[in-house]
């Protein structure tokens, strides 16, 4: 058995970088921090690749892969079984995620050297990036659900920091806050789910929970609340956490706003890594879902399906290129959820699982690429809005080509990576759930439409009068894009069904022509529609939008979900609960306490007449007191 202990270094290097640059960075030239961060992550990146190679190829055995836990330290112990460890767990999905995270992060690091050059807080930026990478790697490598929760929270916090990087911009601050609080709310569910699950099973450890045929779940399936079994509750709540991080409807509202962060951050966090953490979580717990809470799995599929369609529709109407990409991300993650939702366990039945992971991988490549491309454009144009762009293909050839590759990949056009993964998902859905299949099928068409709407609007169309003549981005920005373009183009040829499967045993997978041909077709239709509407400047799109009326407007306003949230938080929670409580506390509760004092004082003034200064009144009180006391005593002692 190969010793994988060195894997622990992969997260620890970014942590070290974070601590060093965070504490000392201010004293250095900005670039030093950037270089340290990039080099550090480079090492992590290569270590990950090496680990992946070792895991998948060097130690592969005929019976599939095994879960390896090279490091596991006790961190906190509640009882002899209920313990939190900090460790490293290697299995196909974690190794795959390791590669994804370090790759994208490494690319983002290199890219940012150019993109963020000269920004105030350059060091801080790199420190945060390292922190984020560390946390994300922690999530990926967790050996138990609590460790995962810990890093899950850290991911949320570092995401908060990165979204709010431009902290003097109120909108960025608001977005960061929103992201944190919404995901925190979702994590509440996650936490409660963990607590319920761990109470009944008595453990946090994945390896124990995943053991086939384990009796740990006897207790939790036995109990029920409101007619729903304990395990269903727990797993639904855990999915709530996943839905929060992965921005599933209705917890998706934070993601579009999160685009306020620097673009490389969007690429890293909000396209490739953090947002898929939810998918990863579901995949991680997949056996539990499958064997103990199949209902929840179906629910997950529907949530994913709805989100993917819903987000894709919104994406068609947005004008901010990053927002379009953000909704596109939502939609694609929905795909992954659908894949997991429709998946079975083991062999062919587990196709959905493999497909979901596969799509996670390819999506990371092409979506990160899209974001980096967008960043490259924004860097040049200094605007996020489509109307400020046009005909950029002339000025930015490399960006153009890589962006096109990514667009084709997301549209599912062979032989680009997206085609393979999306095709597998559709196949899996086709076999398991026809409704979801059709939803996803339509979404695929919408996807290619909105992405090419974006593409044509940016790179074709009219030649806007630019203030500064646009130019291709510097080398350190272009190289990551090229690298990712290669991934987006050829990533689809990786044989995922041999590597990442639900039961860690490879199975044979073949292209289902019946599914793939229509899917390519609808992708092409979408592209064609976009070509017609946006290739040349015309008002066709506006006319269509007008004709749709309310439908268009509500889509443009993202179906007013944000407003609904705002109403609930501002009007109901803040003004309806918090403010009355503040009032209640200071006026009623505190008022009561003060009232005791006031009343005492009042009594004191009321009875002051007793001390009238009159000699004879004193005598009267004296005698009256005596007599009353005597009568009282005679009465109480029984002489009446």
């Amino acid at each position: 058995m190969t010793n994988f202990s060195y894997v622990i270094l992969i997260p620890l290097i970014p942590l070290t970088v974070f601590l060093v640059t965070g504490l000392l960075g201010m004293k250095w030239k900005p670039l030093v921090s950037g270089v340290i961060g990039t080099v550090g992550l480079g090492i992590s990146f290569f270590l990950s690749l090496f680990a992946a190679y070792q895991y998948f190829f060097a130690t592969a055995s005929a019976g599939g892969y095994h879960t390896i836990i090279p490091v596991n330290m006790l961190w906190l112990s509640f009882t002899s079984t209920l313990q939190i460890h900090m460790g490293v767990l290697l299995d196909p999905i974690s190794v795959m995620m390791l590669v994804v995270v370090t790759t994208i992060s490494f690319m983002a690091h290199i890219y940012s050297l150019g993109y963020m050059k000269g920004e105030k807080g350059f060091q801080r930026y790199y420190a945060f990036l390292s922190l984020f990478t560390f946390s994300m790697l922690g999530v990926v490598l967790s050996t138990n659900i609590f460790q995962m929760y810990i890093f899950w929270e850290l991911v949320g916090a570092s995401s908060f920091l990165l979204i709010g990087f431009y902290y003097d911009k109120p909108s960025a601050v608001a977005a960061a806050k929103k992201a944190f609080i919404v995901t925190r709310f979702a994590d509440l569910g996650f936490l409660i789910g963990i607590l319920i699950l761990s109470f009944y099973t008595g453990t946090f450890d994945f390896s124990k929970l995943m053991q086939p045929g384990t009796s740990l779940f006897a207790g939790i399936t036995g109990v029920s609340f409101l007619g729903i079994s304990g395990i269903t509750w727990a797993m639904t709540l855990i999915f709530m956490g996943a839905a929060g991080k992965s921005a599933m409807f209705p917890l998706h509202i934070w993601l579009p706003d999160a685009m306020e962060g620097p673009t490389p951050v969007s690429a890293l966090i909000h396209a490739a890594t953090m947002v898929v953490a939810g998918v990863f979580l579901v995949a991680r717990m997949f056996p539990i879902y499958h064997f103990h809470a199949p209902d929840v799995l179906i629910f997950i599929g529907y949530v994913g399906g709805f989100t993917s369609l819903f987000a894709a529709i919104i994406a068609m109407t947005q004008f901010d290129i990053k927002r379009v990409l953000a909704y596109s991300t939502l939609s694609q993650i929905g795909y992954m959820m659908v894949a997991l939702g429709v998946s079975g366990y083991g062999g062919e039945a587990g196709l959905g699982y493999t497909a979901g992971m596969f799509h996670l991988f390819t999506h990371a490549m092409f979506k990160a690429l899209l974001f980096l491309g967008a960043g490259s454009i924004i860097h040049t144009v200094h605007s996020n809005l489509m109307k400020d762009m046009g005909s950029l293909r002339k000025y930015m050839p490399i960006t153009h080509i890589t962006f096109l590759a990514a667009s084709l990949a997301i549209s599912g056009i062979p032989p680009f990576a997206g085609f393979f993964s999306k095709d597998e998902i559709l196949t899996a859905a086709f076999h398991a759930n026809k409704l979801l299949f059709y939803v996803e099928y339509i979404t695929a068409g919408i996807t290619s439409f909105y992405i090419f709407r974006l593409y044509f609007n940016i790179f074709w169309g009219k030649d806007t009068n630019y203030e500064h003549k646009p130019h291709e981005s510097p080398l350190n920005m272009v190289i990551p894009m090229i690298f990712l373009a290669l991934g987006a183009t050829f990533g689809g040829f990786i044989p995922f069904h041999d590597l990442v499967t639900s039961n860690m045993k490879p199975f044979a997978d073949k292209l289902n022509i019946l599914v793939s041909l229509p899917s390519v077709a609808i992708g092409l239709v979408g592209i064609a529609a976009a070509w017609i509407l946006y290739k040349k400047e015309n008002d066709l799109s506006d006319r269509i939008a007008k004709s749709l009326g309310v439908l268009y407007i509500s889509t443009f306003h993202k179906f007013y979900i944000d407003e609904l949230y705002l109403f609930v938080t501002k009007k109901i929670i803040f003004n309806g609960i918090a403010r009355p409580i503040a009032w209640f506390d200071s006026k009623i509760v505190d008022g009561f306490m003060i009232g005791i004092g006031t009343v005492t004082m009042k009594i004191s003034y009321k009875i002051k007449g007793l001390q009238s200064g009159e000699l004879q009144q004193y005598a009267f009180v004296f005698i009256a007191g005596t007599i009353i006391l005597a009568l009282f005593l005679l009465y109480t002692l029984g002489f009446h």
Binding site: S604, K608, Y618, F622, L637
Partner: protein, 474 residues
Amino acid sequence: MDFKYILLMRHELLLLLVALIILMVDLFTSDKKKFRLIKFSLLLFTIATLVGFIPVKPGVLFGGAFQGNALTDFFKDILNVAVLIVFLQSDGYLKKIENTGKTGEFFVLIILTLLGMDFMVSSGDFLTFFIGLETASIPVAGLVAFDRFKSRSAEAGVKLILLSALSSGVLLFGISLIYGATGSIYFSDIAKHVTASPLIILGFIFFLSGMGFKISLVPFHLWTADVYEGAPINITAYLSVVSKGAAVFILTIILYKVFKNVTDLWETSLYVLAVLTMTVGNLFALRQDNIKRFLAFSSIAQAGFIMVGIMGTGSLGMTSVVYFILIYVFTNLGAFGVASAISSASGVETISGYNGLYSTNPRLSLIMMLALFSLAGIPPIAGFFGKFFLFTSAGSQGYFILILIGVLNATISLYYYLGVVKAMFINKSDTPIPYFRSSNFMRLSLLLCVAGLFSIGFIGGIFEYIMSISHLLF
């Protein structure tokens, strides 16, 4: 007849002697040299106090009319020390021109009342008790009216003597009923015959209201505030500590010894009185501005706490009461000492007048604060221990509701004690009392008080000693 007489009554005889000597010397001292009399009297009294500490075997005199034992001796010592402190504090007052001529009277009257109290403390029958009580209270009226030319002082004197006479009458009426029911005025004989008959109940209530007058229990307390306010501040101090202490002590003895067969009777009545006293005392104290009136009501409330302590019968009750009085001496005299120093230096006797005192007279303010905290029962100052044991004593008989009322009252009392602290430390004043240096005697007395406040609680031996000597009585 032997030497025993002299030794058992050494406190009383010495006081009588000192009083006579001072009276004589006073007669033959010209008005101009009267100020020397202060030091002379102090010296004599100190000697008398010190001699009082000599331990003597317990005994009984005059067929049981006079009882001397370790507890009474100890208590007389407490009274002596308290009076000594009062004397030390009176230095400034007596040195005022209008008072120097009366120096001798001041000492003689106080020492004679103390003599009465000593007899009262040692009494073994109601006659001795009554004579001691009257000896202790009639001259006090003179002392209260000491500032002859102040109408308030005169008013206080009249109020005191008339009401005191009334209360004596009532008290005597009670005693006469008890005599009628039991046929004896000796404590030990009465104890044997006491039953809860209506006559005894009536007699006891009349007796109790008479004593309640001396201790200022509500509703027999109304004279307190007026008399305290009108009297010269040192006399107020004397009244609030020594008179009250002695009365409490003998009341406790009588309750425990004479009425021990009818505990129901007196515990029920004291329960009511304690609750009333604490509550009403506190409620009145809340809005006082005159420091003497303020301390008057505070001392009423304190008397209520003592009543709570008395509820725990037996040696624990006795001990907690005596211990509390011991602490109360230092506490209250500390507070009165500061008030007296300020009064004689600047004439200010209001709490609002104390505003900003800390900025000019930090030490006095600190002592005042310590004394007030002690009254409020805040550790580690002695008052905390005193109050704690009073409550413990009541707890030993299971009076937890009473304790609850007591501690809640203590919390209310904290409000007004802190009010004075606030005036001195927090409030700002444009015209604070200017800095002054009080006389050496005053400083000595305050030093004694502070030392007592800090040490009594920590020296567990004091409490243990009282416990051991009161144990002998039961």
